[in-house]
Amino acid sequence: MSSEPTFESAQRELEQIVQRLESGETGLDEAIALWERGEELYRFCLGKLDSAQGKIEQLASRVEAARP
């Protein structure tokens, strides 16, 4: 795996950021940084949703059974 986060981890981080911001306990600089990070995560997740292409492929060779 590359360093790119998975959709799940990005979504989780985004929701944690929202929680933290909603608590109002963050410093101003931190709030702005969190908001920017949140927007970035949002765009990343949205991109993932929009760009993923559905695909159905057959496993290469048809399975020939081993003898029972």
Binding site: T6, L14, L21, E22, I32, E57, L59, P68
Partner: protein, 386 residues
Amino acid sequence: MTSIVGVKVEATAYGDRKVFSVSAFNRGIATWLQRLPTVWVEGEVTELKRHPRWQSVFFTLKDPADGACLGVSMPRGQFDGLRLGLADGDRVHAYGRPELYAARGEFRLRALSLERFGLGDHLAALERLKRKLAAEGLFAAERKRALPVWPRKIGLVTGNDAAAKRDVLTGIQTRFPPAHVVVAETYVQGPRAAGAVVDALRRLCEVPELDVVVVARGGGSFEDLLPFSDERLVRAIATSPVPIVSAVGHEQDTPLCDLAADVRASTPTAAARLVVPDLGELHERLERARSGLGRGARRSLELKITRLGQAHERLRRAPALLVERRRAALEQTAGRLQALSPKATLNRGYAIVRAREVIVRSAAAAKTGERIDVEVSDGRFGARVE
């Protein structure tokens, strides 16, 4: 005499070529076959032939999976003694050894014993296997793994044109169009099915980024579903490196693979719901998070502004507050000073007497005829000592 695989048989020599008679060849093979062990063979009885004048009864054992056939002969007395009342299609276990009927060069199984093998036997065998695997902990709840929320690739093991396959694929694509499914088609019925499914599973698990596998098979008879209780298959599912969802048979069927799988789905469509997220829901959740983000950021800012306003207000009031406090402190001191002043004593009727500006503290200090000053509460007056 010469030998065929160790069995001495008469042969005629033509130059350097040894030639066997048909009879000698058959006898040689027959003798060699007799060395093979006695075994159990399972199959369906067909073409049963029994005649009172014959020494043996004859029938054919047929493999229900692919129709492979094996001729069987059995001593008539033994066959009759079992009173099995067999009919075509009955499944039996035959105990015997291979033999060659030398007169005709026909290979067959010489059966010594015969047992019916029916549903009850299958059930009992299944129950034994279930207990054994359960004792090993193969079905334990703590072995179950959570399914991924967003699988990169989904494996599907299914029959080649099964309704189950269509149901899973439709379910997945409706719910989550971006899904990437890798389908492995195998036999899902008959004696080859278990091995084929195990093989399909193994090969699917080698596909990179495959995060979950669905094993799907529609409903069928008890016997149709038997491969999904096969020990090899059940073990393969329990030890699979990726989580497995089992969707085999109908709700009331519980093949052992259901117990070994990480999650059991009641139908192929239900399996589809389990392995992929709902794209619509994902979008909604994302949008909710985003509006929360904006709201949160605004709220954070508003809170800061309010606090700043409060701080500013306090700052503005600070100098006045300081003067007020000083004044109060001063007045308090003045009060205390007042309390200590002799004025209050004079008010009560006392007087201070001074002679030559010195306070007279004793009668001896006052000389007759001397002029003195008397201070009372509201002023002074002079007097003379007598």
